[in-house]
C-alpha cells in the first residue's frame, strides 16, 4: 500500500463542508465517505474529524440535530447552514484559484526547462 497523503492544513474543513453539503449526515458516515471518495488516497485521522466538526458547528457553518439512522440508532446528524453554504462556495473558489495558480507555475517551470 502506498503511503497515503497528509491533508494540507485547512483543507479538512473544506472537505467536511463539501460532504455535508450533499445531505444531512452523521460523523461516522463522514469519515467513511471521505475515505471512499478519495479512493483511500487521503488519510483523515478520525481523531481530528470531530474537533473539526465541533469547531465548524460553533462557528455557525454547520448545524446539527439528533435523528435515527437506518439501523434505528440515534446519531448526531450534521447539515450545512446558509453561512456554511456561502463559506463552501468561497473556499471552493479559493481552492480552485490556488490549485490553478500552483499548476500554472509548475507547468511554466517545466516549459522553461525544455
Amino acid at each position: 500500500m502506498n503511503e497515503r497523503l497528509e491533508l494540507p492544513q485547512g483543507t479538512l474543513d473544506l472537505l467536511i463542508l463539501k460532504i455535508v453539503a450533499l445531505g444531512s449526515i452523521h460523523g461516522y458516515a463522514i469519515a467513511q465517505r471521505l475515505q471512499q471518495v478519495s479512493h483511500d488516497e487521503v488519510q483523515v485521522p478520525q481523531g481530528s474529524l470531530y474537533p473539526a466538526l465541533h469547531r465548524l458547528e460553533y462557528r455557525g457553518l454547520l448545524k446539527s440535530e439528533w435523528n435515527s439512522t437506518e439501523g434505528g440508532r440515534e446519531a448526531k446528524f450534521y447539515s450545512l447552514t446558509r453561512k456554511g453554504c456561502a463559506q463552501l462556495e468561497t473556499e471552493t473558489a479559493t481552492w480552485e484559484r490556488l490549485t490553478t495558480a500552483v499548476s500554472l507555475v509548475l507547468n511554466l517551470s517545466e516549459g522553461g526547462a525544455e
Binding site: G27, Y28, Q46, G47, Y50, R55, A75, K76
Partner: protein
C-alpha cells in the same frame, strides 16, 4: 448556541459529546465485525482508529471556545487554595501590596478629584474663560481682567455663545443683630442658569433685575445664611444691609458654592448682587479692568469660532479706542479648575505637590511589587518540580505560564482590594492634614475612575511581579528539572533575585535621600530669622463702617479712633495699621526711581514691595531700626513726605551711599519722597520662598500721607496688626467689641497670628517632608524585608554546600563573611544606582519646592549609611544562621 450559553450548558454538551463518540465507536466496531474481525479485536481497532476517545473529546471541548474561562476559574480556585495553605506568605504579600496600592490609590483619588475632574458645572467642557491680552507686559503679566465696556461690546457682538460676568465686591453684610465681612460678587443674571447651579432655597436673579434702577436684590451664601439667619428658610424675602444699602434676599446659594476657576478666595462666596445694578463709576471706563468674564459655547460652536470673533472685535476696538485699547486683544481658553499655582511663593502649589507625592508612592508601589516578586520567585523555584511534572504530563507551556500569572493576578487583585479599602478610610484624615486646606477637596472621593485606577494598578502590578517567576516554567531539560528537584539553584534565578534586591535598594535610596533633603530644608527654613518677632502678634483684615469712607478726612479720623480704642484693650501692647501683611497672600509691588525725570512706573524701573503703615508698626512687628528714624505721629498729610526702606533696598537703590536724606520718586503723586530711615529686611514671601522671590526690596510709607483720592481704596484693603502681652488671640473678643464703631458694623476678619502665618509659609515643605519620610520609612522596611527574604532563601539553598565547608573546617566567621559578601555586592550596586536616581530626584525637588538647596552631600551620605546599616542588619541574620549549620544534618538533607 452562543458563547455564554455554551459556558453554562457544559454538562449537557458533554453528555451529547459522549453519546456521539460512543455511536462512532460502535458503528466502526460493527463494520469491522462484518468484515470478519473478532468482536474484541474490532472494538480495539475502532478505538485505535479514533486515536484515543478522551483526547478527541478534550479537543472537541476546546473547540467550544470557553475553555480559557473554565481554566481561569480553575486557576483562580487553585490560587486561592494555595494562598490559604500558606497564610504567612499570603499575609506578608497581601499587606505589602495593600500598602503599595492603597497609598497610590489615595494620592490618585486626590489627583483625580483636584486636578483631573472638570468643574462641578453643567456642561463644564463648553465653558470658556475670556481675558484681555496686551502685546506688552507689566509687572503682573500681559493678561488682564475685562473692562466693562469691552465686555459689553463683546457680549453684544458675539454669536454662538453666551457671555457672563462677575465683579469682586467684598463688603460688610449686616442684619440688625450681626455684622460680617464677606467676599461678594456682582454677577450677571445669566451666570447661575448658565453654570447650571440650583439655589438651595429661593431663586436666582431674573433678567429684569439685572439692570440699573431695578429693586435691589441679593443671594446669600449658604454659610453666611447659616450664621446670620441660623439657617432659617424664611430668610428668603427678608432684607439685609450690604455696604449701607438694603437688599431683599431672593435666594440662598448651595452649600460650599464659590466661583471656582479663576479666583483665589478662601471658601464659599458670601453674597451675590446683580451686576446690572452696580453703579461704581469705573465700570463706565474702558481703561479700568476688574471684570471676570466666562462664556458658554452653544452646542455646535467651537472654541476657534469664539477666538476668531474675539480677535475681530479686539482689532476693531483697538482702532476705535486707541487710548485705552492699543495693543489689546481678547482671548478665550477652556475654563479649568484653578488649584493655586497662580501665586508663586506661597505654600499652595497643589499641582506639583500632588505629582511629587504621586511619584513617591509609585516608587513605594514598585518596591512592594519587587518585594512580592522576589517572594513569588522563591516559591516558583521550589515549585520547579511541580511545574515540570505538569509540563511532562502534557500541559502546554503557555497553559502553565497562564496558571502562574493567574496566581499573581489573584494576589495583586486581593492586595489591591485591601489597598482601595485602606484608601477609602485614609482619605478623610489625609485631606484634613493637607497644609492650608486642599483646594477642591470636596471633589475628591472614590468614584469609578479611582476604582478603575485601583483595579488597573493591582492587575498591572500582579502581572509585573508575576511575570518573572512565570517565565521560569521549564520547557527543555524537563528530566533534569525533575531529577534536580527544588534544591539546586539555576544561575538565572540567583541573578534574578540579586537584581530584585538591587532595584529595591536603589528605589529606597531615592526616597530616603529625598526625605533627607526635605528634612534638612525644613530644619534650615524653620531656623531662619523671619525679620520680625512672630510671637504674640496677630493680624486681621478690617472693614471700616461704610459711612466713614466717603470723606478722606473722616476715614483717617475713623482709623485713628480704631487705633486708640484698640490700644486701650487690656493685654494689647501696641497696635498699627498695615495694608500688606508679611507671609500672607497679597502684595503691592510698586516701581520707584531715584533720579528726577524718570517715571517710577516705567517698566524698566526697579520694583519694591510698598506697605503703608502707621507709626507703631515697627513696635508691633519688632523690626530692627538700623539707621535714621521710623514714622511718628508728626508725619501728617501736610508735612514733608517720608519713606523708610529696608536694608535690601538700601543696598540696591543706593549702593555705597548713605540712603537717609535721599529723595525717591514713587507711583503716588509726582513729588519726591525723602528716605528718613533704614530697617531690617522682613521675609515677606514666607520663610521658604523669600530667597527666591523676584521682588525683595521693601519700602514703608505713612498711611497718613496717602493722597486723598486713594484713601478709600487703601482703607478697603487695610489690616490691623496687634502686639499683645498675653496669648494673642485671647484679646480678640474684647478687641472686636472695642473697634465696632458707632454704627456697630466695623469688623475684623481673617484673623491670623504671625506664628500661624510663618508656620504656614513652610507648611508645604513640612507636609512633603512628613509624607516623604513616611514613604521612605516604608520603603526602607520593605527593602529590608526583601533583602532578608532573598538572602535567607539563597542561603537555605546553599545549606549542603555550607555544611560541607564547615565539615572541611571553615570556621563560622568565614561563613558569615561568605554570605555577607554576597549581600554587600548587591547593596553596593543598589546604592550606586539609587544615588544616581536620587540626584535626579533632588534636582526635581529643587525646581518644584522653594527652599530646597542643591544636592547636599551630607543628606546623601547620612541616608545611604542608614540604608546600608539596615540592609546589612537584615542580611546578618541569615548569615549567622548559615554559620551555625550542623554539617551532619546538612548532609542528610541531600
Amino acid at each position: 448556541m452562543n458563547w455564554f450559553r455554551r459556558l453554562f450548558n457544559r454538562g449537557k454538551l458533554d453528555a451529547q459529546l459522549e453519546k456521539e463518540m460512543r455511536f462512532h465507536i460502535e458503528q466502526h466496531t460493527q463494520d469491522l465485525i462484518e468484515r470478519g474481525y473478532a468482536p474484541a479485536e474490532a472494538h480495539r481497532q475502532a478505538l485505535i482508529a479514533l486515536g484515543g476517545a478522551e483526547r478527541v473529546k478534550q479537543e472537541c471541548r476546546e473547540a467550544r471556545g470557553t475553555r480559557w474561562l473554565e481554566d481561569l476559574g480553575q486557576d483562580v480556585g487553585f490560587a486561592l487554595r494555595s494562598l490559604w495553605q500558606k497564610p504567612g506568605f499570603a499575609a506578608v504579600a497581601l499587606l505589602t501590596l495593600a500598602l503599595g496600592t492603597g497609598a497610590t490609590t489615595l494620592i490618585f483619588t486626590l489627583i483625580n478629584g483636584v486636578l483631573l475632574k472638570p468643574l462641578p458645572y453643567a456642561n463644564a467642557d463648553r465653558l470658556l474663560v475670556l481675558q484681555e491680552k496686551t502685546d506688552y507686559s507689566t509687572r503682573i503679566g500681559d493678561l488682564w481682567a475685562f473692562a466693562y465696556p469691552n465686555y459689553a461690546d463683546c457680549k453684544r457682538e458675539m454669536s454662538g455663545l453666551d457671555l457672563m460676568a462677575f465683579l469682586y465686591n467684598g463688603g460688610t453684610v449686616s442684619t440688625t443683630k450681626n455684622a460680617e465681612f464677606v467676599d461678594a460678587y456682582d454677577v450677571s443674571a445669566n451666570l447661575f442658569p448658565l453654570l447650571g447651579v440650583q439655589m438651595a432655597y429661593g431663586r436666582s436673579f431674573l433678567p429684569e433685575e439685572d439692570r440699573m434702577g431695578a429693586p435691589p436684590v441679593a443671594i446669600l451664601g449658604y454659610g453666611v445664611w447659616q450664621r446670620l439667619f441660623g439657617g432659617d428658610e424664611t430668610a428668603v424675602g427678608k432684607s439685609v444691609t450690604f455696604d449701607q444699602k438694603t437688599y431683599t434676599i431672593v435666594g440662598i446659594a448651595p452649600p460650599g458654592f464659590a466661583l471656582e476657576g479663576g479666583l483665589e478666595l478662601e471658601g464659599e462666596t458670601g453674597l451675590f448682587t446683580p451686576l446690572g445694578q452696580e453703579t461704581a463709576p469705573f465700570l463706565a471706563r474702558r481703561d479700568r479692568h476688574g471684570l471676570g468674564v466666562w462664556a458658554k459655547l452653544h452646542p455646535g460652536t467651537s472654541l476657534s469660532d469664539a477666538r476668531t470673533q474675539l480677535s475681530v472685535i479686539g482689532t476693531r476696538l483697538t482702532r476705535q479706542y486707541p487710548d485705552s485699547n492699543k495693543g489689546r486683544t481678547f482671548i478665550a481658553d477652556p475654563l479649568r479648575p484653578e488649584v493655586g499655582d497662580s501665586l508663586p511663593g506661597f505654600a499652595n502649589n497643589t499641582r506639583s505637590t500632588l505629582w511629587l507625592l504621586f511619584g513617591a508612592v509609585t516608587l513605594v508601589l514598585l518596591i512592594a511589587c519587587v518585594n512580592v516578586a522576589s517572594l513569588l520567585l522563591a516559591r516558583a523555584v521550589s515549585r520547579e518540580r511541580e511545574l515540570a511534572i505538569r509540563v511532562a504530563l502534557g500541559a502546554s507551556r503557555a497553559r502553565v505560564v497562564r496558571q502562574c500569572l493567574t496566581e499573581s493576578a489573584v494576589l495583586g487583585l486581593l492586595g489591591g482590594g485591601f489597598g482601595v479599602f485602606f484608601a477609602f478610610f485614609a482619605l478623610g484624615p489625609f485631606i484634613a492634614f493637607w497644609p492650608g486646606g486642599l483646594p477642591r477637596a470636596r471633589e475628591a472621593h472614590l468614584d469609578w475612575r479611582v476604582m478603575l485606577f485601583g483595579f488597573g494598578v493591582s492587575l498591572l502590578s500582579g502581572v509585573l511581579f508575576g511575570l518573572a517567576p512565570a517565565l521560569r516554567v521549564p520547557v527543555r531539560n524537563l528530566e533534569q528539572a525533575l531529577r534536580a528537584g527544588a534544591r539546586t539553584l539555576a544561575g538565572t534565578s540567583r541573578r534574578m533575585h540579586s537584581s530584585y534586591v538591587v532595584s529595591e535598594l536603589a528605589l529606597a535610596v531615592v526616597l530616603l535621600v529625598s526625605a533627607g533633603i526635605l528634612a534638612r530644608t525644613l530644619l534650615r527654613l524653620s531656623s531662619l530669622n523671619p525679620g520680625i518677632d512672630i510671637h504674640n502678634v496677630f493680624t486681621g483684615r478690617m472693614a471700616l463702617a461704610p459711612s466713614t469712607l466717603k470723606d478722606p478726612n473722616a476715614t483717617r479720623a475713623a482709623w485713628d479712633k480704631v487705633l486708640s480704642s484698640a490700644s486701650q484693650v487690656p493685654g494689647v501692647e501696641a497696635v498699627s495699621l498695615v495694608d500688606t501683611v508679611p507671609m500672607r497672600e497679597g502684595s503691592n509691588p510698586m516701581g520707584y526711581s531715584t533720579k528726577p525725570g524718570i517715571s517710577p512706573s516705567d517698566p524698566s524701573q526697579p520694583t519694591t514691595l510698598g506697605s503703608s503703615v502707621t507709626p507703631d508698626y515697627l513696635k508691633v512687628m519688632r523690626i530692627p531700626l538700623q539707621e535714621g528714624r521710623f514714622f511718628t505721629e508728626q508725619d501728617r498729610f501736610n508735612t514733608a513726605r517720608v519713606v523708610v526702606i529696608d536694608d535690601v533696598m538700601a543696598r540696591k537703590a543706593f549702593p555705597g551711599e548713605e540712603p537717609v536724606g535721599k529723595p525717591i520718586w514713587l507711583d503716588l503723586g509726582s513729588d519726591p519722597w525723602t528716605v528718613v530711615g533704614v530697617v531690617g529686611h522682613v521675609r515677606y514671601w514666607g520663610l521658604a520662598s523669600d530667597d527666591q522671590a523676584q521682588v525683595r526690596a521693601q519700602l514703608y510709607y505713612p498711611f497718613s500721607q496717602v493722597p486723598d483720592q486713594w484713601v478709600r481704596r487703601w482703607s478697603e484693603l487695610m489690616s490691623i496688626a496687634v502686639r499683645t502681652k498675653v496669648e494673642p488671640l485671647s484679646v480678640l473678643p474684647v478687641l472686636r467689641q472695642a473697634v465696632r464703631g458707632a454704627t456697630g458694623d466695623q469688623v475684623i476678619y481673617q484673623v491670623r497670628s504671625m506664628e500661624q502665618l510663618a508656620s504656614r509659609s513652610i507648611a508645604r515643605q513640612r507636609f512633603l517632608f512628613v509624607l516623604f519620610g513616611l514613604f521612605a520609612a516604608l520603603a526602607l522596611l520593605l527593602a529590608c524585608i526583601g533583602i532578608y527574604g532573598v538572602l535567607a532563601y539563597l542561603t537555605s539553598q546553599r545549606v549542603p554546600e555550607i555544611g560541607i565547608r564547615i565539615a572541611l573546617g571553615a570556621n563560622p566567621n568565614r561563613v558569615v563573611r561568605l554570605v555577607m559578601r554576597q549581600s554587600l555586592r548587591m547593596i553596593a550596586i543598589g546604592v550606586v544606582l539609587g544615588a544616581l536616581g536620587a540626584l535626579a530626584a533632588t534636582s526635581l525637588l529643587q525646581r518644584l519646592v522653594d527652599g530646597v538647596q542643591k544636592a547636599d552631600p551630607s543628606s546623601f551620605v547620612l541616608m545611604i549609611v542608614v540604608l546600608m546599616a539596615a540592609a546589612l542588619a537584615a542580611s546578618f541574620i541569615p548569615a549567622r544562621r548559615a554559620s551555625r549549620i550542623d554539617p551532619l544534618k546538612a548532609s542528610r538533607q541531600e
